[in-house]
Amino acid sequence: MTSEEIYSKLEPIIKTYLPEDVSAKEVNRKSDLTRELNINSAHLVDIVLDIEDVFNIEFKNEDMERLRNVNDAISLIQQKTSA
């Protein structure tokens, strides 16, 4: 899967969990999920669980530690879907 294809599936997942005071327009590939998009740690878990379902992959605790921005998510998904 190309990173564009991944992003097109990932973007709607992230937008589901955006707080009301963050506009969907602010989501881009460099967005820091917790610091810039203001997603809390509980919703970050929800995003990962949705990613697991949509891409049929499994995240581990150490993957969580590497997950900071949207590009991190894309590269983790790319790694796992191509494995």
Binding site: S41, A42, H43, V45, D46, L49, F59, N61
Partner: protein, 148 residues
């Protein structure tokens, strides 16, 4: 009392402890009880001359039994002396009937998932007649440090 070790691990005390007993617990569910003593402080004001247990207190009781007690059990092998703290992250509860002073309630919680330190459960509260008082979902993040 069964499962006293779970209750001993709870980070609450009077007047904010809403767990009396844990009757059963497994990797997937928990059952506990609490009796709302007639002299609890909030009955003086909720409501004036008409004491009814506040919904937030029912939610707290459901969270303490359904989420925190279950969380302590799920983490029993990982934590030794360290106290568990659980930060509530979301509650969605519907209420069906009132709880008056002196009533004993049962809380049943079924785990939906426990991953990356987030515990999400479907939780029900029942009265002595086994009628549903409240039900919904509660989730929290387990953090093994002081919340400051």
């Amino acid at each position: 009392m069964k499962y006293q070790y779970i209750i001993n691990q709870l980070p609450y005390s009077e007047p904010f402890l809403f767990v009396d007993e844990v009757l059963s617990v497994s990797e997937d569910n928990i059952l506990g009880t609490y009796t709302f003593k007639k002299d609890l402080i909030f009955y003086e004001g909720h409501f004036k001359d008409n004491p009814v247990t506040p919904g937030v207190i029912l939610t707290e009781c459901m969270a303490q039994i359904g989420l925190v007690c279950l969380g302590i059990f799920l983490l029993k092998d990982e934590t030794s002396s360290e106290k568990i703290n659980l930060a509530l992250s979301s509650t969605e509860i519907d209420f069906y009937c009132p709880v008056f002073p002196g009533e004993k309630v049962k809380v049943v919680s079924i785990k939906e998932y426990f991953r990356f330190n987030k515990l999400k459960c479907k939780v029900k509260m029942l009265n002595a007649k086994d009628e549903i008082i409240a039900k919904g979902t509660i989730s929290g993040m387990i953090v093994n440090r002081d919340l400051k």
